[in-house]
């Protein structure tokens, strides 16, 4: 149905644009997470996959039975905010059909997991609609005039006539669902977690020893990554303390690195602000995110080496982010918002990529491995001031220093809706020599607190410039920024 109709039916619902690539990536991340439940996990073979196929042969007893396994999957997915329908059967076709179309008695609540007993797929599939057999829409359409809507009706038709009247696919899908024909599962690559751990004989809080052990474990991890030419993008160290607590140590990099001294330097920077409340009894080092390494040829003579420049920039960002925190090293991005406080947003540099290029990381032949979580994919906003929409007028200049909150000032204006003539700021009285304005900004009603302001750029008799506004309703004056 069109979007307008949907909005009319469910005004409180959240609507977002359809992004199949992001959906697929999120599903792949879920598949990697599901590997703890079975021998192999695969995405269903479709243009836009929506289901995961998990081979749990022999895994039931490990979780206390197949029902318990299925219930655990549903519970854990619910914690991540996903509603899942789980069906367990002998064949892929049967499990898919029951999970998609095997509704429970209450149509509104997601049904609980359905376990089909071994050999019982025929009984389970009979009452379902024919779409449960994964038939293509054209075949379903072709069967409709014959009033064949249920699988039982389809199975009642003479089998030999099906290929000629409809397609070979019908027979193939029936055989796959019932288990007469095998079906291949293409498993997702196993998310191998590269980690190394160490337990101390006696718990210690001596920093040098802890750092020496981390270095040793890091070398082991790098040795396993080196043959595959992978570098670490995010390193995670777990410090287990004697009182049972766990202290995580996360080191992020702008570019993947396989250099132990560089990584240890960043670990030491992080450790400088780490407070250990108890002694450490064990620790483990894990390559949380790995990416293929980039190789550069070293130049013999000094020249305009762009790659060297990028490498040095990456090193600086890593040092700053790991010592001050990722949220302290930011990249400004302009937003198309009229309200000055929201016209700009800051994003951490780690995770942004190198300057001057695209905002997404280059993904060579690898995908991020390890415990990847589904990520949001948003387009990068423009980095130049918005123009054009307001006709010939461009956005007027803004002050380089903006107060986090506008400050109320005592100001006097002669004309009732005119600029200020005199105002007090920092215990000084400023007389206005020139003022430009008003620039009316009325926006933000969707945020709950709409603003209606008349902005003026004022220049005092001493030549100093300030950016002030008057609220239209309360007629109060505020100073928002200074041209420091």
């Amino acid at each position: 149905m069109p979007l307008a109709e949907a909005r009319g039916l469910a005004p409180d619902a959240h609507f977002a644009p359809h992004e199949p690539r992001a959906d697929r990536e999120a599903l792949a991340a879920l598949a990697a997470w599901c590997q703890r439940f079975g021998r192999a996990v695969a995405l269903e073979e479709a243009e836009e996959p929506e289901s995961l196929l998990v081979d749990i042969t022999g895994c039931g007893p490990l979780f206390g039975g197949e029902k318990a396994l299925a219930a655990k999957v549903v519970d854990e997915l619910r914690r991540y905010g996903y509603w899942a329908r789980v069906a367990v059967a002998d064949t892929i076709g049967a499990a898919w059909g029951i999970a998609h179309f095997g509704a429970g008695p209450d149509r509104n609540a997601p049904p609980g997991p359905v376990i089909v007993p071994p050999g019982g797929q025929l009984q389970a599939l009979r009452p379902l609609v024919i779409e449960a057999l994964r038939l293509s829409p054209s075949i379903v359409q072709a069967l409709r005039p014959f009033d064949v809507r249920r699988v039982s009706q389809l199975l009642a038709l003479p089998r030999s006539s099906l290929p000629s009247r409809f397609s070979d696919e019908v027979v193939h899908r029936i055989d796959q669902a019932l288990g007469h024909v095998g079906e291949l599962l293409t498993p997702e690559p196993v998310a191998e977690i590269v980690e190394a751990s160490w337990s101390f004989e006696a718990a210690t809080d001596e920093r040098r020893m802890i750092e020496a052990v981390i270095e040793h474990l890091l070398e082991q991890v790098l040795q396993r990554l080196r043959p595959r030419q992978l570098g670490i993008q995010r390193l995670l160290c777990w410090l287990q303390t004697a009182d049972g607590g766990v202290v995580p140590l996360r080191v992020g990099l702008l570019q993947p690195s396989a250099s132990a001294p560089h990584l240890m330097g960043l670990v030491r920077l992080y450790c400088e602000r780490l407070q250990l409340k108890a002694e450490v009894s064990a620790l483990s080092v894990q390559a949380e995110e790995v990416m293929p390494l980039e190789f550069f040829q070293q130049q013999l003579f000094e020249g305009e080496d762009d790659s060297d420049h990028r490498r040095l920039f990456g090193l600086l960002i890593e040092r700053l982010s790991n010592r001050l925190g990722e949220k302290a090293v930011l990249r400004p991005q302009l937003m198309p918002d009229a309200q000055p406080e929201y016209a700009c947003r800051f994003e951490p540099w780690l995770g942004q990529g190198m300057p001057g290029g695209s905002a997404t990381k280059k993904r060579g032949k690898g995908k991020p491995r390890g415990n990847a979580r589904p990520r949001k994919h948003s387009p990068s906003p423009p980095t130049s001031l918005p123009t054009g929409d307001r006709g010939e007028k461009e956005i007027p200049p803004r002050p380089p220093c903006l107060k986090s909150r506008p400050v109320a000032v005592a100001a006097v204006s002669v004309a009732p809706h005119g600029p200020p003539v005199r105002f007090e700021w920092q215990k000084r009285c400023h007389v206005v020599a020139h003022a430009w304005g008003p620039e009316r900004i009325e926006t933000g009603w969707w945020r709950g607190q709409d603003v209606q302001r008349d902005y003026y750029l004022v220049e005092s008799t001493a030549g100093q410039r300030f950016w002030m506004f008057r609220t239209i309703q309360e007629e109060g004056w505020f100073l928002h920024g200074t041209f420091a």
Binding site: L300, F301, E302, H309, L312, F313, L315, L316, R319, L320, R323, L324, A328, V329, L330, R331, P332, Q333, L334, P340, C344, W349, P355, G356, T383, L385, K393, E394, I395, P396, P397, R398, P399, P400, C401, L402, S404, G418, P419, V421, V431, V432, H434, A435, W436, G437, P438, E439, R440, L457, E459, S460, G463, Q464, R465, F466, G481, T482, F483, A484
Partner: protein, 260 residues
Amino acid sequence: MSRASRREIIHDLQERLRQITRSGRPVRQAVLPAGCTLGRFLPGQELTAGTLIEWLGEGEGSGAATLALAVAAELCGASGILVLIDTNREFYPPAAAGLGIPLDRTVVVQPASPGDALWALEQALRSAAVTVAFGWIEALSDRVFHRLQLAAQTGGTLGFLLRPAACRTEPSCAQLRLLVEAAPRPESSALWDRIPILSTGAAPTPGLFGGWRLRARVLHRRGGPAGETITLELNHEARLVSLAAPMAHSALAPRASGAS
């Protein structure tokens, strides 16, 4: 092959040898772009690699940060990187974009303490990838100042330190110390210009910056005289234009007409 050209070739080869055998990274030579405003403050001198410049401003609204950002925009040009240490958390990027700063090559650091701010500034100065390192610094001891100077020399980075005007009496390790003030508009004889109520009525045009005059007085210049004052104006494209000093009164007697 003439002797002069052979000498040149030998000199060139020796220079290259020195580059290869030099330990550590060769220091990047900072070269001023042609027509850069900073050149006005250093006549006859080259801006050497690793320089610190102090910009002192009296109170808010004085224009020191605006002028420093405009000069930084000129230096960064099309490919330079700017690292800005925003200690007060007041930096407003849309204004910087209007002055020509490339936001996709800007790193804004928001440190939690003044100590972190100085450390971050030192790291930025030390990195050869950074063109301009910009920071608001209040108190600066001699020791730390020397460290920043050394870091700037190592990385070949230009350091812009924004400081309160009260620091003018303190000793400086910078190559240049400038006191920036906003210049009031020249007195006009027209009666209506003296009345301080002026409203254009219409919404502000991009020419707002046009006509903002800033005076930069050289308080300290290493290897040169101090005391010079240069008046600059931000034109309608938010670009700096320096104004010539008013013509001095001619000391020569006017020529009598008809003199042979």
